[in-house]
């Protein structure tokens, strides 16, 4: 099974595959398709082909909200960039990523505060501390689990 990404300009690190640049044709016989699709989506890659199984090309993301002022700003910036750079694929990719992120934030009703909440500097120099008492629970040797996770993430 082969993954084909024709658009240039991406540098991808996908689970189970060595990092690669696009355009590329990559052997994905040993890769989990669900995970692969999920990760490509996270990278904002919507146009790709998988040869070896029927797979319809994913359409570019549709805007869920056109009225949000942030979304309108991104649209305006994108139009300006398009005029300056033409239909440069990298710009389009970044635009799609931004749209997805924006839609997700709108969906989650996440309002970025104008001013971040105040967090004081950590200063405990005026505090005199006595040894902290704590309970003890038996720990585990997690080396093997960590090694398996590292392999799964493709770092080994």
């Amino acid at each position: 099974m082969i993954l084909i990404i024709k658009k240039a300009g991406f540098f991808l690190t996908l689970t189970g595959l060595k990092p690669f640049r696009t355009p590329a044709e990559v052997d994905i016989r040993r890769t989990d398709l669900n995970v692969l699709r999920l990760e490509l989506k996270r990278y904002g890659i919507t146009e790709y082909e998988i040869i070896g199984e029927p797979f319809s090309e994913v359409k570019p993301p549709k805007r869920k909200s056109q009225k949000n002022p942030l979304a309108e700003k991104v649209d305006a910036i994108y139009k300006m960039m398009q005029q300056m750079l033409g239909k440069e694929p990298t710009v389009e990719h970044h635009y799609h990523s931004a749209v997805q992120t924006l839609d997700r934030l709108i969906e989650e009703k996440f309002d970025e505060p104008d001013v971040e909440e105040f967090i004081p500097e950590i200063d405990v120099s005026d505090l005199k501390e006595v040894d902290l008492e704590y309970r003890i629970e038996e720990g585990e040797d997690v080396t093997d689990a960590a090694e398996e996770l590292r392999k799964l993430k493709g770092d080994s």
């Binding site: 689970t15 669900n34 950590i122 993430k153």
Partner: protein, 366 residues
Amino acid sequence: MSDEEKKEIVEPEVAPPSPPEPPPVVKKKKDKRLFIGLDCGTMNICCARNDADQIRITRNVFLPISDESVSMSELSNISYVKSEDGDVFIIGEDAFKFANIFGQAVSRPMEKGLISPKEISAIDVLTLIIRGLVGNIKDRDVYCAYSIPAEAIDETRSVVYHTRVFGRILGALGVNHRPVNEGAAIIYSECSKERFSGVGISFGAGMCNVAIMYKGVEVLKFSTSRSGDYVDNSVAESLSLIPNRVTSIKERRLDLAKGFMGEGDKKIRRVMEALEYYYSALINYTIKKVINEFDEKVDIEVDEKLPVIISGGTSMPNGFLELFKSTISQHDLPFGVSEVRQARNPLTAVANGLLVLTLADFSGTK
């Protein structure tokens, strides 16, 4: 022998036999790196280090008192912090004991899973608790993953402030740090045999955290504001009791497998009956939210059956797992379930999982 003869006796100039040459010492370079998993829970803070086979836990509570109300001898063998202004903060388990003596309620640096803005001393106290738990890190390069809840789906509070405060505390202690979702940590701890696929549900004191992972990739995460405190407060409200009293009965007597009917004392029986009712409501609510969130937000087909792992202090009463199994069997889930099981140690699973992740991410690097 005359004195002259004695002087003439000369020791032979033969060198004493030299000891065998020690083998050349190969200095093994000591790994300066230290890896830590830190579970920052509403009720407990829990710390796992890769160089220790024990996990340290302390209660995340404190009791502010004036140094005039207590003598230094009374504070011997007690965990406390004293400020230059004469304020004394008794911290950890001891705070509960002194709270009863003084008839005061303990203060909690965290509320419903997040740092409480109401407690102005919270950050200082948390810093000292964490410093005490982490222990000696002198001359070490320390890497730490610390737990944060996912954004709640039934409340508007953001976790950003909470995440940044813990980051700043760890930074001030000289620790490299990264926040990691609490539910995901359970899967890192408990699901290595399933290649880190599963549903992790952490029933903490303040929040219930859920994460669904598929082969090490987070598919869904969210939290709800209903967990242990919700149960205690609901019971207290419905029976006009103080929540502390309900918590005490819950921790000492609740057995969801045995039920409440065997309890002789009528008042306590009523509390236990209410506890069972709200435990059941909590589990039902959580499962419904898992189904709704999965249906709405997950657009991949998960063709494997997933294990569901139950963890957290609120899942500790005997019979909780069976109640959960029986409740989940009444629902039609959008994914297959291979089994429902409890974490090996529900109190330490999050810290353990965070340690697994930290080791996986950093121990291979130099």
